[in-house]
Symmetry: C2
Subunit: 213 residues, 2 copies
Amino acid sequence: MVVSAALQLLESGGGEALTMRRVADQIGVSASSLYGYVANKEELVQLVLDRIFEDLEVPSTGSWQETLREFGRALLAMYRRHPGVAALTLGRVAVTPAMLPLGERIISELRAAGMPDQVAAFVGDLGGLYIGAIAYEQDVTPLAGQEKEFVDQFTGWLKSLPADRFPNTVALADTAVAGSADDRFEWGMDVIIRGLATYLVVPPSPEGGWPTG
Amino acid sequence: MVVSAALQLLESGGGEALTMRRVADQIGVSASSLYGYVANKEELVQLVLDRIFEDLEVPSTGSWQETLREFGRALLAMYRRHPGVAALTLGRVAVTPAMLPLGERIISELRAAGMPDQVAAFVGDLGGLYIGAIAYEQDVTPLAGQEKEFVDQFTGWLKSLPADRFPNTVALADTAVAGSADDRFEWGMDVIIRGLATYLVVPPSPEGGWPTG
DNA sequence: GTCTACTACAGAACACTGTTCTCGTCAAGT
DNA sequence: ACTTGACGAGAACAGTGTTCTGTAGTAGAC
């Protein structure tokens, strides 16, 4: 009830809209009465996080690489559906009951593929941080119409730098902003997955390309 | 003047201490008068970020791997010296003038090592996100004395899960929380650096270990 | 039937936040 | 001497999370 109202507020207004008074209004109750349902805002946030991760599941693919990639995409898509949530997961020990089956499946798949235990245990931390940070960044980034103008202005600034002091920065100005946000996200996941692959006890064959799925 | 006061507040009280009224008090001025020095809090934050990145420099090492690693450590150490700053960089297009020489040096080193332009241009984004997210997490995490107790409690919770439904989670409970925060950070950088190495136009020789410096 | 205990809620209040508006003071320029 | 402009203080506004106090209504006990 209260978490549904909170989710609705997040969807329509982002993280700043998640206010005790607004949640109370949403369910037709005074702000002070909210504290009958919930101890404080922190508890409300935890409930929201748990609810949200209930909708996620780890896809069944052939390879652990593709599983990680697909799950990462689903996670990012979920963050995008609920703006403001990424900011809530960062800076919080965001391990809710709903996450347990997800972590279990991923660890299982990684171990089955021959990944050392230490790596399998840490990969959730690394991936969660990366995707959470990306989602947070895109949350707060200037949106829609302004974005292109902003990017152009930023590129222009980089290009206008003195080429003798910043030759590489100037040279790569266009490259740095090339590609969509999705492209950058996919590339980052690629780096991480390629890095993880080097920990396999059965090393991949170098010729024929790296196992990126 | 104002940024020095702001930095002092961050050092002693963390991110929540950075308040316009407190900054004003620190320099012996009323809150409203602060707006004579600074347009708004956002501008003050940008000034703080720029000041902070002035103290950083990219070390000169033999390999690009060691350079990335050393710079990453310096960045994390800087975040730790100034609690609350990591939260400011995340969710903000945190490219200040003081960062330009740093980015230039890193891009230069990567290109010289044979890294494709696209990778060299993106690596700052990926690394900055990862380190910023880690620093933010450690910022907000319960500190000092409580930490060990909290970790033990968390491990206990994981181990108490039904082993038939979460066999891998239970099995790796100890492994997941093993190692210090620094260990986890170093490992994450290792994954990223190993992943980046796979993009080199001159591929590293697989036998003899991966080039992790 | 009456009284009591308890629950759910509302309203006001407190200590904050960023920001703006208005006012006063004081030094420099003409 | 008078004006102008800068500088800063104080109050105020619209918010925030949270707590305290009071007030209905309702269930159960005698």
